[in-house]
Amino acid sequence: MSSKETLYQKFVEKAELVSALVTTIESEEAAIDYVINLCDTKEACQLLVSGCEADLSENAEALCDAKQTKVIAAPGLKQDLYKSLSTKAKKSGFDCIDSGMRNHLAGIDIGFTIAEYGIADTGTLMLDCPSEELRLATMVSEYHVCVLPKSKIRANTYAIEKMMLTRMNKTPDYLAFITGASRTADIERVLALGVHGPLELHILILEDQ
C-alpha cells in the first residue's frame, strides 16, 4: 500500500473514532450535491437535537425565533464553486450566503468549508480562518461539512508545523485544528455532542490526484 493510502486510512479511522462522518468523493461538484442532500434531509434548526423543544428564558427564545428558513453558509469558496452551490441551494429552497454571518448567530444549518490539511494520527482538520465569516461558518452551523483533498493528509502536527508558522507569521492569523464535532462531558462525564459548535462534522475526502 502506498504511504498516501496508509495515511488516508489512518485519517479515516481516527476521524470516525471521534464521531466524524467521513465520505470519499470524486469531485467538488459531488461535495455540493452532498451538502444539498444533507440540507434537504435535515430538520430545519435540528428541532430535537439542538434543543428547540425545551422551554428557555425569553431572551434565548427570541434569538432562536429569528431563524426561519434553512441556511447554508459557504464563505471563502472559489467563485465558480460558490455559484454552483448557490444555484442548487436556491432551487431547493435554501438560503445560501457567503457573508453576513453575524445576522445568523442563532445558528445556520450547514457551514461548508475546505480544509487546508488533514492530520492522520488524530483525524484532525486544519483550517486557517483569519476571515471572521469563515470562522463563524464553522462555529454557528449545526452541521459542518468540510472538504479535505486527499493529497493534503499529513502524518502528524509536526509535518504541518512549517506551514503553520508561515501562516502565523503573516498576521493577523486565526488557525484551527478541528477534530470531530463540538463535545462536552461536563455533566456526569456523559459525552454529549454539539455544545457551542456543530452537532455533526462531515468530512468529504476528495480524490484529487
Binding site: A60, L63, T179, V195
Partner: protein, 716 residues
C-alpha cells in the same frame, strides 16, 4: 475551597465528602474509566520519552522566561496586540477591569481559565459592575451555583444531572428535566444569547508562543473560539508558565495534554490566535486584543532549585485523576482552587500557608500522581517539602516532635519497642492481634486490627541463628526496617532461609534503624536526614553486592531519598549514591538475580492474588518479578482489580486520616475478595499490617503473606 482552620475541621469536611454517595460513585467510575482511556490514547507511543522531552523543554522555558516574555511581547505588539504584565492576581484583575472601562464594555463572556480562577477574576469584575458569564458548560454550572471547580478539566464533576436540571429550571424560569443531552442543548441556546450580547471575551491560554507572539487554546466545546471571535474586545489571561520558545514546543505538549487529561487523542478544537484579528463588530473592523501575563509568585518558584519543576505543569489534571484520596473526597476537599497533587503545591505558593496547611497533610505518598504527570514533576516530594516548610514556620506538632526525637536515637527507639512488648501483654491475643485498641487510638481506628509486637525481634534472632554460608556466590546486607524487625520477623527469617539455601552470604549491620520515611511523611526533614545519616554509617556499601530489603517503602526511600537528603554533604552524598545503587527489593533479587526456578518449589493448588505496594510498583518500577515468583513458588496467580492502587496504609497517614485509610482499605479488600483467592501476597510489611488487620475485622479467611514466606514454605 479549603477554609478549615485546623486538621479537626478539615477531617470533618472530609467526612462530609465521604458520606456523599453520588460523588463517591462518580469518582470511582471516573478513576477506572480514565485509566483505560489513557492507556488506549497513548497506545504505541513512547510516553516516558515524551514526558522527558516536555520536562526538558518546560525547564528550559522556565529558566529563560524573562527573555521569552520579551520576545513574546515584541512579536505580539508588532501584530497589534496590547501586552500587560501583572505581578499579582489583584493587579491582573485591575488591568482587566480597566480595559473593560476604557473600551466601554459591560457584558463579558468567558472561556474556561484556571488562571482567572486563581486570581478570582469574576469577583473583581462583578464588583466593577460588569456582567460576567462563563461559557464552558461545567464552569457555567458552577458559576450559577457560586462554587469553585472541583476538577481542573471537569469543573462540575461533583454534580449530578438532577442537580443541574434543578439549577437550569431556576435559570430559565421553565421546568427542565434531567436528561443530559437536553441539558446540554439548553446551555447551548442560553449561552448563544450571551455571546451575541457580549462586548468583551476573556480566555486563558494553554500556550504563549514566543516565536510567533501568538497563543494556543485547547477546548472541546468550541466556546473559546466564539469567545475570541464574537465580542469586539478579547483579553487572554495567562501565567508566565505558559511561555514557550517555539510552536514545536507547544505541539509537543499537545501530544500529551488531551491524552493525559481525558484520554482523548486531541480535543475537538485547538485554536491558534496570532495578531489582532478581523472583527465585524469593532469600529475599525479589527478586534482589540490584550494579553495579560501573570506572575503571582511564579518567578519566585522558578528561582527555587527544587520547586522550579512546578513550571512544567500543563494543567491536564491527571494527578487528580489517579489520586486515591481525590477519588474519595473530590476536588473541593483535595485542593483550594487548584486541585489534586499539583493543587496542594500551588495552593501554598499562590494562596498562602493558611490555605495549604491542612491540605498538604492529605497526601498518602502513593506516587500515582508522579507516575502520571505529563511534565514528570515529583509531586509527592514537593508536597512533603511544603509540609516541612509550613512546620518550620508554624512550629512542629507534638506527635511529630516526639517521633523525631525517638527515631533520632536508635537505642531509645528500640528500647521503647521492647518495652511495648510487655505493655501489650494484657491486651494481646494468641493470634498475633491486639484485642482492644489502646486508649490513645480513638474508635475511628477500629477498622483494622493491629498486630502485637513479636516475642523476639529479628535482630535478636539473627544473632543466634545467623546461617553460615560456605562458598558464597553473592554477599549481601539485610535491611529489615522497623516493622519486620519488631513485628513480623518471620518474613525476614523466611528470606534468610531461602538466601542461605542459594549460597548467599548475609550481614545484618546492628546499628541500622528505622529508614526514616515515617518522620519524612510527617514533614520532619531534619529528623529524616539524621536517621538517614545513621543508616548510611551503619552500612559499608562497597562490602556487598546488594543491600536487600523486604519492605517496599524502605527500599524506595533508601534508594531515591537518601541521596537527596544528604545532597549538601559531598562525602556523604558519594556514600549515599553507592548505597542507593546496591538497594534491591526482595522479589527482584530472588526472581531476577538469583533466578529461582519453578522446579525449586512444590506445586500446590492454592489460588493467590497480589497487592502491589505503591513503593514497589511506582517507587521502584517493579511489576513482573513478584507475579512471576508467585507462579514459580507453586501457587496459581489470579489478577485482582486495581492491583496497583494503594491499600490505604501510607504509614502515619492512616493514623492521621483513619476514615480515608479505612475507605481505601475497604475498596482494596472488596477487590481481593472478588478474586476468590485464598491467599493474598504482597511485598511490604506495612501493607501486610493494613490488609491483615482489615481482613481480620471482616472475619475473612483469606491469609495475607509476604512473598518471602510462600517461597520459604514451598521450597523443596
Amino acid at each position: 475551597m479549603q477554609n478549615a482552620n485546623d486538621l479537626k475541621e478539615y477531617r470533618k469536611e472530609l467526612q462530609e465528602s465521604l458520606d456523599n454517595e453520588f460523588l463517591r460513585t462518580t469518582l470511582d467510575n471516573f478513576a477506572v474509566a480514565y485509566k483505560a482511556g489513557r492507556a488506549n490514547a497513548f497506545k504505541g507511543m513512547d510516553v516516558r520519552g515524551l514526558v522527558h522531552d516536555i520536562a526538558c523543554s518546560k525547564d528550559a522555558a522556565g529558566e529563560n522566561y524573562e527573555a521569552l516574555y520579551a520576545e513574546f511581547k515584541e512579536k505580539a505588539e508588532a501584530a497589534g496586540i496590547h501586552v500587560h504584565f501583572a505581578k499579582t492576581g489583584d493587579e491582573a484583575n485591575q488591568i482587566i477591569a480597566q480595559i473593560a472601562k476604557d473600551t466601554d464594555c459591560t457584558k463579558i463572556v468567558k472561556s474556561k481559565s484556571m488562571t482567572a480562577e486563581e486570581t478570582l477574576l469574576n469577583h473583581d469584575l462583578e464588583d466593577a459592575g460588569l456582567e460576567v458569564t462563563e461559557t464552558d458548560l461545567g464552569e457555567w454550572i458552577i458559576q450559577l451555583r457560586h462554587e469553585g471547580p472541583s476538577h481542573m478539566v471537569m469543573p462540575a464533576i461533583h454534580l449530578s444531572r438532577y442537580q443541574v436540571g434543578d439549577l437550569f429550571t431556576e435559570v430559565t424560569g421553565s421546568k427542565q428535566d434531567s436528561e443530559i443531552e437536553k441539558l446540554v442543548k439548553v446551555a447551548r441556546r442560553e449561552l448563544r444569547q450571551k455571546y451575541v450580547e457580549a462586548d468583551m471575551g476573556i480566555t486563558g491560554a494553554n500556550f504563549a508562543v514566543a516565536e510567533t507572539g501568538g497563543i494556543g487554546l485547547v477546548t472541546n466545546e468550541g466556546n473559546a473560539r466564539l469567545v475570541s471571535t464574537l465580542p469586539r474586545v478579547h483579553v487572554a489571561l495567562m501565567g508566565i508558565d505558559k511561555l514557550l520558545p517555539t510552536l514545536h514546543d507547544a505541539l509537543r505538549i499537545l501530544k500529551a495534554l488531551p491524552r493525559n487529561a481525558t484520554g482523548q487523542q486531541l480535543t475537538s478544537y485547538v485554536t491558534w490566535i496570532t495578531g489582532a484579528n478581523e472583527c465585524a463588530s469593532a469600529e475599525n473592523g479589527t478586534k482589540e486584543i490584550h494579553y495579560v501575563v501573570l506572575d503571582n509568585g511564579r518567578s519566585e518558584l522558578l528561582k527555587d532549585s527544587l520547586f522550579s519543576q512546578v513550571n512544567r505543569c500543563v494543567r491536564c489534571g491527571a494527578c487528580a485523576n489517579v489520586c486515591p484520596v481525590y477519588r474519595l473526597v473530590g476536588g473541593h476537599k483535595m485542593g483550594h482552587i487548584y486541585i489534586g497533587a499539583i493543587g496542594l503545591i500551588l495552593t501554598y505558593f499562590f494562596h498562602g500557608k493558611d490555605k495549604a496547611k491542612n491540605l498538604v497533610q492529605n497526601c498518602i505518598n502513593c506516587e500515582a500522581c508522579k507516575d502520571v504527570c505529563a511534565g514528570g514533576i515529583d509531586l509527592p516530594r514537593l508536597i512533603k517539602e511544603i509540609h516541612a516548610r509550613i512546620q518550620e514556620e508554624d512550629g512542629h506538632p507534638l506527635p511529630s516532635v516526639l517521633l523525631s526525637k525517638v527515631l533520632r536515637n536508635r537505642k531509645l527507639f528500640h528500647t521503647l519497642l521492647r518495652t511495648a512488648k510487655w505493655g501489650q501483654k494484657p491486651v494481646a491475643e494468641k493470634d498475633g492481634f491486639i484485642r482492644h485498641l489502646p486508649m490513645i487510638f480513638s474508635k475511628e481506628h477500629s477498622f483494622r486490627a493491629l498486630p502485637t509486637i513479636a516475642e523476639t525481634p529479628f535482630r535478636d534472632w539473627w544473632q543466634k541463628n545467623r546461617p553460615a554460608v560456605d562458598k558464597p556466590k553473592l554477599r549481601v546486607a539485610l535491611f529489615s526496617g522497623c516493622v519486620q524487625d519488631f513485628v513480623y520477623p518471620e518474613q525476614m527469617q523466611a528470606a534468610v532461609e531461602l538466601f542461605a539455601a542459594n549460597n548467599v552470604a548475609m550481614d545484618y549491620p546492628m546499628e541500622q534503624s528505622c529508614c526514616g520515611l515515617p518522620v519524612q511523611m510527617m514533614g520532619e526533614m531534619d529528623a529524616s536526614r539524621d536517621v538517614a545519616k545513621q543508616n548510611l554509617r551503619a552500612f559499608e556499601p562497597d562490602a556487598y553486592d546488594y543491600i536487600i530489603t523486604l519492605c517496599a517503602s524502605c527500599a524506595a526511600h533508601l534508594k531515591h531519598n537518601y541521596p537527596k537528603l544528604v545532597m549538601d554533604r559531598p562525602a556523604l552524598k558519594y556514600r549515599a549514591d553507592a548505597f542507593a545503587d546496591k538497594i534491591i527489593d526482595y522479589s527482584s533479587f530472588v526472581n531476577d538475580v538469583l533466578k529461582v526456578q519453578k522446579d525449586d518449589f512444590r506445586a500446590t493448588t492454592e489460588k493467590a492474588t497480589y497487592h502491589a505496594p505503591c513503593h514497589l510498583c511506582r517507587g521502584l518500577d517493579v511489576h513482573d518479578a513478584p507475579r512471576q515468583l508467585i507462579e514459580k513458588g507453586g501457587l496459581e496467580y489470579v489478577e485482582c482489580d486495581e492491583e496497583e492502587v494503594c491499600c490505604g496504609f501510607g504509614g502515619t497517614f492512616s493514623m492521621k486520616f483513619p476514615e480515608l485509610s479505612a475507605e481505601l482499605l475497604n475498596k482494596k479488600l472488596t477487590n481481593v475478595e472478588k478474586t476468590g483467592a485464598t491467599t493474598l501476597l504482597t511485598d511490604c510489611p506495612g501493607c501486610i499490617m493494613q490488609l491483615r488487620g482489615g481482613l481480620k475485622k471482616r472475619g475473612s479467611n483469606i491469609t495475607v503473606k509476604h512473598v518471602s514466606e510462600v517461597l520459604a514454605g514451598n521450597r523443596k
